[in-house]
């Protein structure tokens, strides 16, 4: 009897457990639900209320890609030399970029931000297309229209910049790489669309920036007259910028952060003064003129390079972390027009246009973002009608207003490819004029088999 009673009791408890299991199972999801105020999921960021923050995020993505490109382009073209020790940055400094699966610097600092910015623009463009006509979004109509225009603009600009930077370009998630020329064509299309919608919404600055971008793409493609036409209506003093902020390190202008250092005495990038050995012996071609202009200071007291023994020259164009960087400017548009004139044999006209800009610091985009710069008239150009001697002068002239804003890579690669003029730094450097698709994309994109696609 004793045994039987206990067996029955044991069975009862097991059944109770099973029932508990079943009963609790009904509400397990509720019991285990966690509301984390610290995170945002895509579902939480949907709908009209999220539009302003989504637009801002897209702007942030573009700005992040832009200053990353600016700082690496500066290294690649010797606007800066490396004062640090990161191996893949040394590769860039030497224009001999190796695919290295063990170091993701370039993936994280350049290719990645480009793709984030492109995908951010493309994704928003797709999701907002329907929302523009949706009455539910009426309260955020202005944000939505500006976002829509900016998504087109950034989509176009990022494509153009990737075409300038890479030997082949991936334009879709895990997509088939295309040639830089094809990427430029797509950029042109996006920028034309930008003009259309920005004009429709009365967003003049965005439409104007798109015209500068179109001119940039057309210059790259060698369609100089078309570029000049696109740039013609851009006001001389027009400046469209990527904004940064002093308030948080995540918003710092990277050109400033790397060239001034997190701590002032340890710099990762510096302007080459020609005094260091090995790969660092390059001298920024306009070093002394830039000193005279107050754009840089040589050997500032208290500043050191991360790598011992490298002399430091500090750039002053972006002397605060919150300083904006010009993206599209009337200066650039005028330079494009002048170069088109030069190539078209209108030598005097081109020289006059360029020297007019060089003589007028008030139009200089660097002055626009840093009014404290003591800029004076730059040394004028003297064109001869021979591209081999005139284009190097054009490169200097462009740099006078477009220093450290990605323009030099666009210009130098264009001259190299379209004109056979190599203004890239020489000496012990490699022969790269563009970056390869990085290893992480090769490993995970079935359409990419090597650095150039």
């Amino acid at each position: 009897m004793y045994k039987r009673r206990n067996v029955r009791a044991g069975g009862v408890w097991i059944w109770i457990a099973v029932l508990l299991l079943a009963a609790t199972g009904c509400s397990i999801d509720e019991l285990l639900k966690v509301n984390d105020p610290d995170i945002v999921t895509p579902e939480q960021a949907a709908g009209p209320a999220a539009v302003p923050a989504t637009v801002a995020g897209m702007v942030g993505d573009f700005q992040n890609s832009f200053d990353n490109y600016a700082i690496y382009a500066a290294l690649f073209t010797d606007e800066m030399i490396l004062a640090g020790t990161f191996p893949t940055r040394i590769d860039v400094d030497e224009r001999n970029v190796q695919l290295d699966p063990n170091n993701g610097t370039l993936e994280a600092d350049m290719f990645g931000p480009f793709q984030v910015a492109r995908e951010s623009a493309d994704r928003n463009l797709a999701s907002w297309t329907g929302a523009l006509d949706d009455p539910a979004y009426a309260s955020v109509k202005d944000d939505l229209e500006e976002g829509f225009a900016l998504a087109n603009l950034y989509g176009g600009y990022v494509r153009a910049m990737m075409a300038e930077a890479y030997c082949s370009v991936v334009l879709e998630p895990k997509g088939q790489p295309v040639t830089p020329e094809a990427a430029m064509e797509e950029a042109l299309s996006r920028l034309q669309q930008t003009q259309n919608v920005a004009t429709q919404y009365g967003l003049t600055d965005i439409a104007t920036a798109a015209r500068v971008g179109q001119a940039r793409a057309l210059m790259y493609l060698g369609r100089y007259s078309e570029a000049a036409a696109a740039a013609a209506s851009v006001p001389e003093d027009f400046v469209f910028v990527a904004e940064y902020s002093d308030n948080q390190s995540s918003q710092y202008n990277l050109v400033h952060a790397y060239t001034w250092g997190v701590n002032p005495f340890v710099l990762r990038w510096t302007v080459g003064d020609g005094t260091a050995g090995n790969r660092h012996n390059e001298l920024w071609p306009y070093f002394y003129e830039w000193i005279d202009q107050g754009l840089l200071v040589d050997d500032p007291p208290g500043y050191e390079a991360v790598e011992i023994g490298i002399g430091v020259a500090l750039q002053l164009a972006y002397d605060a972390p919150g300083m904006s960087i010009p993206v599209a400017t009337g200066w650039e548009a005028q330079m494009d027009i002048a170069e088109a004139e030069l190539r078209n044999g209108q030598v005097a006209q081109a020289e006059s246009r360029v020297n007019g800009l060089l003589a007028n610091p008030a139009l200089n985009p660097l002055k626009a973002v840093n009014p404290d710069l003591p800029l004076a008239a730059f040394t004028p150009v003297s064109f001869t009608g021979t591209l081999a001697t005139d284009l190097p002068q054009m490169a200097r002239a462009r740099a006078s207003g477009l220093w450290l804003n990605t323009d030099r890579q666009a210009t130098l690669r264009r001259y190299y490819q379209n004109d056979g003029i190599d203004l890239y730094p020489t000496g012990t450097q490699g022969s790269d004029v563009s970056f390869p698709i990085p290893q992480q994309e090769i490993d995970n994109n079935p359409h990419v088999s090597g650095g150039c696609g």
Binding site: K3, L32, V34, V59, P113, S120, P173, Q248, G322
Partner: protein, 1019 residues
Amino acid sequence: MRSNRIARRFGLLATAALLWAAPEAGTAQATGTVTGTVTDVASGRPLAQAQVHIPALRRGAQANGEGRYLLLNVPAGDYELRVELIGYASGSARITVPPGGTVTQSFQLSTSAIALDELVVTATGQQRTREVANAVGTLDVRRQLEQAPEASLMTLLQSKVPGVTIRQSSGSVAAASSIKIRGNTSLGLDNTPLIYVDGARVDNSNSIDAGAGGQDFTRLNDLDPDNIASIEVVKGPAAATLYGTEASAGVIRITTKRGLAGRAVWSYRTEQGVTWDPTKWWSMSWNPAKGVGLALLTGAEPVKDTTYTFSLLEGDQFFPSPFRTGYQQSYGMSVRGGSDNVTYYVSGDYLNQDGVTRSDGVRRYNARANFDAVISDKLQVSVSNGFVSISSRLPTNDNSLFSLVGNALGTSWQGRLLRADPTSGGTPMETCYLAYEYARATGADLATVTADFCDSPYFVTVENSNDKILNLVNTDNTARYTGSLTATWNPFPWMTNRATVGMDQYTSRFRNIFPVDPDRPFGSVSDGEIDRTDRTSSSLTLEGSSAVRFQLRPALTSVTTVGFQFNRDQVDITSATGRRFPAGSPSVGNSVENEAGDAFVKVKTLGLFVQEQVEWGDELFVTPAVRFDDNSAFGANLGLETYPRVGVSWVASNRSWFPGLFDQFRLRGAWGQSGKQPGPNDALALLNVQPVAFRNTDILGFTANRPGNPDLKPETGTEIEVGFDASLLSGRLSAEFTYFDKKTRNAVVARPDALSLGFPGDRFVNVGEITNKGVEVALQGDAIRTDALTWTLRGSLATLDNKVTDLPEPIVFGSQRHQQGLPFGAYYDRPVTIGTEGQPVVAEDRVFLGQPTPTREGSFSSSVTLFERVTVFALLDYQGGHQLLNGLEAFNCGLFGGGDQFGSCPAIFEVDANGNLTDQAKIKDAAAAAGTDAPFIYDADFIKLRNVSVRFDLPASWVGRFGVSAASLTVAGENLFTWTKYPGTDPEANFAGSAQVVRQQLWTLPQSSRFVTRFTFTF
């Protein structure tokens, strides 16, 4: 029928209520008392805390300080009475309890490392060791502390339990040590085991960023070892199944001390000790290379100069050493006692432990109040309360720009100091080492060469730089409460119900301060910077189980247990940074620039389990079980996870045919699974929320972070372990052997995907598989056991074969990586060899160069006791079969840009007897130029003299006149000597602190040595 069922249920309830409400009513006539004493058979010493119980009734009591036990109200009848105590062979006797009478039964126990009837705490409650199918790692803390006083849980556990690897990565007393049980079970998740204190699961954060360069703060050192009674280590998935989804890295169960019935017994202890840095810094500073540095300047042949022994870390009359002798003082008082129905243990402890620099130390206040109450025959309640207030501080070291060691070793020749001209004398002037040595060697004018050479303020090379670095503040102040309430209800002799509510709550305040310094030794942060992080953590444990025992056959018993466990862990973090504040006012609010942030983490787990234990006699135990889990971090598409297990334990020595040589012999085997849940939000697609500069203002923007994975599962650990426990020669020799083979599947890995997807963050996926296999052997023997002399030897050896068996893509950490076919975190780089022409050749491909995790660990201890009064103890600790990257040498040789231009790398100038560069010099030079770590990775086997102690138990006749019943004095040394061929500072040092994968010795403070005296007395 329905009314009958309801009536029956009401009847059951009513019966239960009666049994609860009136337990005393029927006991007056039909019950008796059981009492007696428990003593050590050799010494006659009373054995406090011995557990005496009647298994048939599931009732028991602890022996008090005099070894006396008392069981009241025992139903009259015949019973088996058992006694168990950790470290002693169990005892049993048949007793007959007369109605209204008393039976006296005393026990004398002999020591034994194998005690199959010892009670261990498991997920389903207390079980005897013989019932548990796994190796049980039990640590008798009281005995350990008698042999070697320890201030922290980590040092207490070090080298004590086979399979438990504690690695002290630094000599800073406040720094965390890494802890792993049976190897690394997860590639990307935390390998720290779960920790339970008296049934409450507690926060086990062991890598809390201290902002100190590499070493971390830890929550594992909050407990005072003197409050711990015992520690049980549940080693792997086969044993941890019923702990569920978070237990695959193992579980550590800590039981604190509890009260004993009897008069109030007061205990007092004090410890006084010293800690010092034993490192010969000059031997690894630039001085051996001084000749090299000078040669580079003067054109002379490079030579080593070992005659000049100054180091920035050792100091001279001009430049004080940053190190000091750290003092340790600790005081503790406790009282325990109580009635037969209520017992208590209350204690208070204070520890002030200084490290070897003034910015290193721990100050800790612990208080504990534990109560046990027998509410009735059927209901007992245990309450545990622990409170700690702990303040920890760490020096800035390791891979920090402001590292104390790094500054001293890295600045080499350009470190600044005051010196008189070595030739002309005169007033000391500000110069640097390079100039001073150059002037000494060449007779050049010191002022002239100072101007030439001393111009590199890289690092912090200003006079008193050590002092300025030590002014940096990295502190953690934590107030923590850990408590639990466990109720055990036995409504029937065949049923035990247990419920536990546990709570662990703390608030910690972290401060990282760069004080304002007009000398500007730290660049912009010299204008003042403060980072503060306030963290509130809360862990809730709810557990319940019900066990019913019934007899299927005369020798066949079934114990069925069902239960649940719910855990909720929540962490709230608020952080703020302020820059540029007034001198002497390090405050975020007073800063010119400031920013703030916050973070929130919450994880919930619900588990339900069923266990069936079938016992045949007291000999064979077969225990199948299963646990079902759900967790808030699982992917949305995932349902309940199931973790099964089965274990068999067979006490073969119960068989009559078993050789009489063995006192006890048990075979055991278990197979089981447990899990490891992904990070709290790993399964979710996330957006970043970050400020964006837009339209000339800062606004918040949503940007993509990472794609989600709704199918993300927990990692599943599967383990099989088999082994035996044996006791021979009347307990004089004991042996434990275990073989384990565990595999972690579905390892959660943040896997990079195509960047063109547009996500900066990686997606978490289940891809990897890791295996850990090994054996654990423990032997203990009494070489001599007489009344006058006992000499006990203990040895243990654990092997570990760890391998990543499945991983689609390597996960790279510099020159280390997880890669399929290689051990966890393997060193992997390009080797350099000498070619046929004598030239160095750097291989194009990377190869396996070693592993950071020891494949062999062992310990050997000897304990000699004379006349039960004096005990001499020594413990050697061994780890081997692994390698360590000497990052200091790699840096000095130029790999990371340190450069050899100042002579900090003598290795690349080493010449043979003929004056030719040695092969190793060529290899290291080529490696430095090519950027490979290969020649700087060394075997890191070592043997450490971890503990040496002498303990003296003062005769009762001496101390009795002061009213003291027992007193002892212990003098102990720790980390006194290391035998190793590793050429760096310390084969255990790691610049990444308690990090799981990265191991490298670079600018890390090596382990310090310690002497401590401990005086205890009881009255």
